[in-house]
């Protein structure tokens, strides 16, 4: 197996639309995002924010009625994924980009043992040395604290939720992909299992030299493992920067509100505040102006008409009219 280094990813002006009776509605409205090679990036957002659509775009796997309308997804060693088709695309998936699907616990074939499914995967990618593939899989499972031999001989119903999730991660890594996308890797898992899985994700990331993208709705999960954090809302990345900075001194009013709405174990619990209003759905995303303005405490006149451009300043990107100006002092103290 060839050892390639961690690839970088550059998403540019990506627009994905879904065809509905009301016309084509944008799930992603011109998203730009870079994943630095060798980092763990987290995308947090609520349902309907477009985070899963963005993750699927990395595989060029947006399913109809959705389609990538414009923009590009450049992955080092692969080129522009949006332009890949057919056989080329099929080979890239799994080999170069590993994907752990949402509810990976339920995405195994119930009629085949894990080992059989692994052999299928190997054959579909023309692996000659299938015993070596099995050996790699056993080693990976062993690395994650499982008895590899036993797991490969098991059907999915013989494994617990946490074990299936680890099997999902094994499938994403076994073909030696160096870009790994995990969509909600710990949803529906218990706290202790979640902590164990997150530790595995972090350890494997460092050991194998990966570029990792984690999609989650849980700020805590993102905070625990990521180096860099992007916050999505209404099909846009509204804030992106180093995780500790985004959490410690959030700039976008949505990020601020979201962090404030998390009950925590430290600090004064009564400072937690709910965010007013509710997130937009595909049909209710405003056609013009800022997507967050209805819930925003910092709304100004321009928000109604102009969609704020993302502005990057000292490695932090924020798309907001009210904080985009250097003149506005940011007082993070309130949230520290």
């Amino acid at each position: 197996m060839t050892r390639t280094s961690a690839p970088g990813v550059r998403v540019k002006d990506l627009t994905v639309v879904y065809k509905t009776p009301a016309g084509e509605l944008p799930a992603l409205g011109g998203v730009s995002l870079s994943l630095a090679p060798g980092t763990i990036t987290g995308i947090v957002g609520e349902s309907g924010s477009g985070k899963s659509t963005l993750a699927l775009s990395l595989l060029n796997a947006v399913q109809p009625p959705g389609r990538i309308k414009e923009g590009s997804v450049e992955i080092d060693g692969l080129g522009n994924v949006v332009e890949l088709t057919g056989e080329e695309l099929r080979r890239a998936r799994g080999r170069q980009v590993g994907y752990v699907f949402q509810a990976a616990q339920n995405s195994l074939n119930p009629l085949k043992t894990v080992g059989k499914q692994l052999l299928d995967l190997g054959r579909s990618h023309d692996f000659d040395d299938l015993p070596a593939l099995l050996k790699d899989a056993r080693a990976l499972l062993g690395r994650m604290g499982l008895d590899g031999g036993r797991v490969l001989d098991s059907y999915q119903h013989e494994l617990s939720g946490g074990m299936r999730q680890r099997v999902g991660i094994m499938f994403a890594l076994v073909l030696n992909a160096h870009l790994v996308v995990l969509d909600e890797p710990t949803t529906a898992l218990d706290m202790i299992t979640q902590a164990a899985i997150l530790k595995i994700v972090r350890d494997v990331h460092h050991e194998r030299g990966l570029t990792t993208l984690i999609i989650t709705h849980d700020m805590g999960v993102a905070a625990e493992v990521t180096d860099s954090l992007a916050v999505m809302y209404g099909g846009r990345v509204v804030e992106h920067g180093p995780t500790t900075e985004v959490l410690g001194s959030p700039r976008h009013p949505y990020t601020k509100g979201l962090i404030r709405a998390i009950p925590r174990l430290s600090g004064d619990i009564d400072e937690a505040r709910a965010l007013p209003g509710r997130p937009p759905t595909l049909g209710t995303i405003p056609k013009q102006g800022c997507v967050f303005r209805e819930r925003c405490p910092m709304r100004i006149a321009v928000c109604d008409t102009v969609d704020p451009e993302p502005v990057t300043r000292d490695a932090r990107t924020v798309a907001c009219h009210a904080v985009g100006r250097p003149a506005t002092p940011i007082v993070p103290k309130e949230y520290v």
């Binding site: 609520e46 349902s47 604290g145 617990s160 946490g162 074990m163 218990d190 706290m191 202790i192 299992t193 979640q194 902590a195 164990a196 997150l198 709705h217 849980d218 700020m219 805590g220 999960v221 905070a223 625990e224 995780t243 500790t244 900075e245 985004v246 959490l247 410690g248 001194s249 509100g257 979201l258 962090i259 709405a261 998390i262 009950p263 925590r264 174990l265 430290s266 600090g267 619990i269 937690a272 505040r273 709910a274 965010l275 509710r278 997130p279 993070p332 103290k333 949230y335 520290v336």
Partner: protein
């Protein structure tokens, strides 16, 4: 006031060729819910916390022990005479997407229990209409908008509020909230939690809160009691803030250590505890139930089942109790 003592429940799996198997869900649980108080049960899935909630709401039977509601032991009553007691305890379901009948408008959903209530108290249709509006306003949604609509036309947060309003139609004294926000969008969760907290204050209802997320327990019942359940047994209990800031049982410490740290806002606790193994129902029932996973186990733990001992406020079932600093601390700017 509700007092439960020594509640046990064992699920029997039907026999196959290997014979029948008994799965103990609760192994003798005691607790008290004061009027207007808040009691939280936390634990991993499969620890018996949902079963306990259903037993308290009268939706599930128990094998032994007793529930005493305002001085009346339920074991002394025939099942049909228990109903007026259990009516005062209402369960808020976990999943607002399946808890409402999709073929009924919210108006119809609320009208059914309200009609029952109107009959009991000798009031008419006008009262029902007014009460429905009043309850929806109480849970923070616009009655004019919601009443004629079907559940699929509402967001998850709104549906959960409707479910709470429906539970309130019968003027309950206790609300049992089982993971009531886990299916709702993150930015809306705190709103629903704040509502439950507010109802406690305004209507003086007690809340029995069942969750795996200790931080939400802290928000809703910070002044109440916390019970940590492991494989059907209470392993630690006490005032919520006290247990969270000073847990002595390694299982409580593991749960608290597993909560993600918001790096940048807080720093991890210095003595985080990680279990040595994953939860396995097949683990032996002799000795301490947590022994196999416990990083601090001794030979004694594998032989002896520790009893719940209390210092008057905080109780624990551990042979080697030791306070550890596991929860995150606020980062200083």
């Amino acid at each position: 006031m509700i007092t439960a003592s020594g509640i046990t429940k064992t699920y029997k799996q039907r026999g196959n060729m290997l014979g029948a198997r008994a799965v103990p869900a609760l192994r003798g649980v005691d607790f008290t819910i004061e009027k207007g108080g808040a009691v939280t049960f936390i634990g991993e899935s499969g620890c018996g916390k949902t079963t306990l909630g259903r037993i308290v709401a009268g939706l599930e039977t128990y094998d032994s022990g007793d529930i005493v509601i305002d001085g009346t032991p339920m074991s002394s009553l025939k099942p049909r005479h228990r109903q007026p007691f259990f009516r005062r305890i209402q369960l808020i379901h976990q999943d607002p997407y399946s808890a409402l009948n999709p073929t009924r408008t919210i108006h119809q959903t609320l009208a059914a229990p309200l009609a029952l209530r109107a009959k009991q108290t000798g009031r008419g249709k006008a009262w029902m209409e007014e009460r429905a509006r009043e309850l929806l306003a109480l849970v923070g949604i616009d009655p004019g908008y919601v009443l004629p609509r079907y559940p699929h036309q509402l967001s998850g947060g709104m549906r959960q509020r409707v479910v709470i309003a429906r539970a309130l139609t019968v003027d309950p004294e206790v609300l049992v909230a089982d993971e009531s926000v886990s299916m709702i969008d993150v930015s809306l969760r705190l709103g629903v939690l704040a509502l439950l907290k507010d109802l406690r204050e305004r209507l003086d209802v007690s809340v029995l809160f069942i969750t795996h997320d200790i931080a939400t327990a802290r928000y809703i019942g910070g002044d109440g009691e916390l019970y940590v359940i492991y494989r059907g047994q209470v392993v630690e209990s006490g005032p919520t803030e006290r247990v969270i800031s000073g847990p002595v049982h390694p299982y409580t410490q593991s749960l608290l250590s597993a909560i993600p740290v918001l790096h940048g806002v807080e720093r991890p606790g210095p003595e985080r505890v990680v279990p040595t193994e994953a939860l396995n129902e097949a683990h032996s029932d002799t000795g301490c139930l947590f022994a196999r996973r416990c990083p601090f186990r001794t030979d004694r733990c594998e032989a002896e089942l520790p009893a719940l001992v209390s210092d008057g406020e905080q109780a624990h079932a551990c042979l080697h109790p030791q306070r550890r600093n596991v929860i995150p601390v606020e980062a200083v700017a």
